[in-house]
Amino acid sequence: MRALLVRSLAQARYAILGSFFLLAGFQLIIIGQAAEIQRTQSFGRVAELLPAFLQRGLGSRAMLMATFKGTVAFGYFHPVVCLMVCVLAMYVATEPAHEIESGLVDLELARSVPRHRLLTRSLLLSALTVVGAAVFMAAGTWMGTRAFDAPMSEMPSAATRAKLLINLSATAACFLSFALLVAVLSNRWVTAFTTTALAAIVLYLVDFVAIGWPPMRAVSWISPFHYYPALSVVAGESGLGGNVAILAGASGACIAAAYWRFSRRDL
C-alpha cells in the first residue's frame, strides 16, 4: 500500500500542491478584500449590490454577505473554492481509470496486490487531499487575519469555520466517491474525469439556480451542494449532523458500489 500511495502522490503532487496554495491564497485575498471594505466602511454599498434573487431566495441570511464575517466565510463556500476542492479530489480519485487505460493495472495486479488495494489507495489519497485542502484554507485564513490586521471580534468563530470546512469536506468526499465509482466503470481517464467534473459543475449550478428559481428546488436535493448550506451555518441556523450524515451515506453507497464493481470487472 505504501508503494502505491507514494507513487500516486508523486504523480499528482504538482496538481495537489498547486491547488493547496491557490486555496490558501484565495483566503488571504478574500480577507484582504473584506478588511479593505471594512476600512472604507463600504459594506452598506455591498448590500445594495446583492442581486435581488439572492435576497429573495436567501432571505435575511443574504445580508450576511454584506458583513465582514460573511465575506470572510465566503472564502469557504465561494463557487471557485467549492469546485476546486471537489475537482481536485475527483482528479485524484479517478486514478484507477488512468491505470486501466495505460495498462499499468496489468503490471500492478500481475503481482500479489489485491484488486481492492488500488481503490483503497485512491480513496485514501483523495480523502487526504480534501483534508489537506481544508488545512491550507484554514492556514490561509489564519495568515490573512494577521497579514491584514483583521478585527478578530468580527471574524466567523473558529467553530463556524470548522463546521464550514467539515461540511465542505463531506461534500467533496461525496464527489470523490462518485468519481471513484465512475473511474471503475470507465476504461479511459479523460472520460471518468470530465464526466465527474462536469457533473460537479452542473450540480453546483442546480443548487445555485434553486436559490432564485423555486421550480429547481424540486430537483436540487440531488446535488451534494444542497447539503452544504453555508450561509445557514454562518448564521448559526443549521446543524452539521444531518447534512454530513446524508453526504456520508451517499459517499458510502458510491464507495461500496465502486468496490463491488471493481472486484468483478474485466481489466
Binding site: A3, G103, D106, L107, A110, R111, S112, V113
Partner: protein, 286 residues
C-alpha cells in the same frame, strides 16, 4: 501447491459479449518447461494470458498455476508469476532503477539482489541507464527493463508476451541465454507468446497454436520436426533428372528407393517452424 503441471488450463472460455475471446481452451505446461504460445493477432493469446493473471474473468472453465486456481485463489496464483506485458506500461517520470524498486515494493516477494544485478549486467543496463528517466529511454531499453522486472524475483512461472520485440540481436541472444539458464536451473516455467518463430524454435520445448480462440495444434518441437515433411532434392552424377520429393521422418527409405544410383548431391531444406505454424494462422483448414 500440488505436483501437477505448472500451468493447467481446462475448458477455459472467455466471451466479450458476442465475440469469442477463447473457447474451450485446454492445455498443460509442465514444470520447468519453456512453452511457446503462438497464434495470429487476435487469436486469443493475450486473452489467455490475462485470464491466467485474473485480469479477465472467465466465462467458464478454469486455469491454475502450480495447482493454484488463477481466479479463486488469485492472489496466491499471482505470487507465483512474473509477467511481461506485450506493450510495457511505464511511469515516464521514473528512472529505470526507481521503476524496478517501485514494482518490487508492490508485493512481499523478495528480489535477490545478486540475481537482479546479474540480469542488469546480462541485458547491458548500465548504472547510467538505470538513472535515466524512462521517458528518455529507447524502446529496446524499456523492453529490457520489462524483461528484468518480470524475472527479477525468480518467479516459479514467467509469462512473457512478445519478450524480444524491439531488442537488437545481441539482446535477443541475451534473452535466449537467460531462458536457457532458467531451463537449466529447472525451477522456472516459461510461458512465452511470440511472433518471432525462430526465437520460439530455439528456446521452446513445446508449442501450442491458437486460432479463433481454440487450440489447433500442440506438441514438442522435436516431435513437430520429426513429423513435418521436408523437401529433399537429390541430383545424380549420371545426368538423370533430379529427384525432388517431400519426406516425413528419416531419409533411409528414400535412399533405399534410389537403389545404388550415383548421387551427386543431396539438398534437404531445413525445418522452419515458421512454415509449420503458418498453416495454422490462416482462417482455412490447415
Amino acid at each position: 501447491m500440488t505436483a501437477g503441471p505448472a500451468i493447467a488450463v481446462e475448458g477455459l472460455t472467455k466471451y466479450y459479449g458476442p465475440v469469442i475471446g477463447i473457447e474451450d481452451l485446454s492445455f498443460d505446461v509442465g514444470r520447468g518447461e519453456v512453452y511457446g504460445f503462438l497464434g495470429a493477432n487476435g487469436a486469443g493469446k493475450t486473452t489467455t494470458i490475462r485470464l491466467l493473471l485474473d485480469l479477465l474473468r472467465p466465462s467458464r472453465g478454469r486455469a491454475a498455476v502450480l495447482g493454484v486456481d488463477c481466479h479463486r485463489q488469485s492472489l496466491a496464483a499471482r505470487r507465483l508469476i512474473g509477467y511481461l506485458p506485450g506493450d510495457l506500461p511505464i511511469y515516464p517520470d521514473l528512472s529505470a532503477r526507481e521503476y524496478l524498486t517501485y514494482l518490487s515494493g508492490l508485493d512481499d516477494r523478495p528480489v535477490p539482489r545478486d540475481y537482479l544485478e546479474h540480469l542488469l549486467r546480462r541485458f547491458d543496463v548500465s548504472a547510467l541507464d538505470q538513472r535515466r528517466r524512462l521517458r528518455e529511454q529507447s524502446h529496446g531499453m524499456k523492453q529490457k527493463i520489462g524483461i528484468i522486472q518480470a524475472l527479477m524475483m525468480r518467479p516459479a512461472v514467467a509469462i512473457l508476451d512478445e519478450p524480444t520485440a524491439g531488442l537488437d540481436p545481441m539482446m535477443a541472444q541475451a534473452f535466449r541465454e537467460t531462458i536457457a539458464d532458467l531451463k537449466a536451473a529447472g525451477d522456472t516455467t516459461v510461458f512465452l507468446s511470440s511472433h518471432v518463430l525462430a526465437e520460439v524454435e530455439s528456446t521452446c520445448d513445446r508449442i501450442g497454436v491458437v486460432r479463433g480462440g481454440r487450440l489447433v495444434t500442440s506438441g514438442t518441437i522435436e516431435d513437430i520436426k520429426r513429423n513435418t515433411t521436408r523437401r529433399v532434392t537429390i541430383t545424380f552424377a549420371d545426368g538423370a533428372p533430379p529427384l525432388v520429393t517431400d519426406v516425413r521422418g528419416p531419409l533411409g527409405p528414400l535412399f533405399a528407393r534410389i537403389d545404388g544410383r550415383p548421387i551427386h548431391d543431396v539438398v534437404v531444406e531445413p525445418f522452419r517452424l515458421e512454415d509449420y505454424v503458418a498453416r495454422f494462422y490462416g482462417e482455412g483448414t490447415p
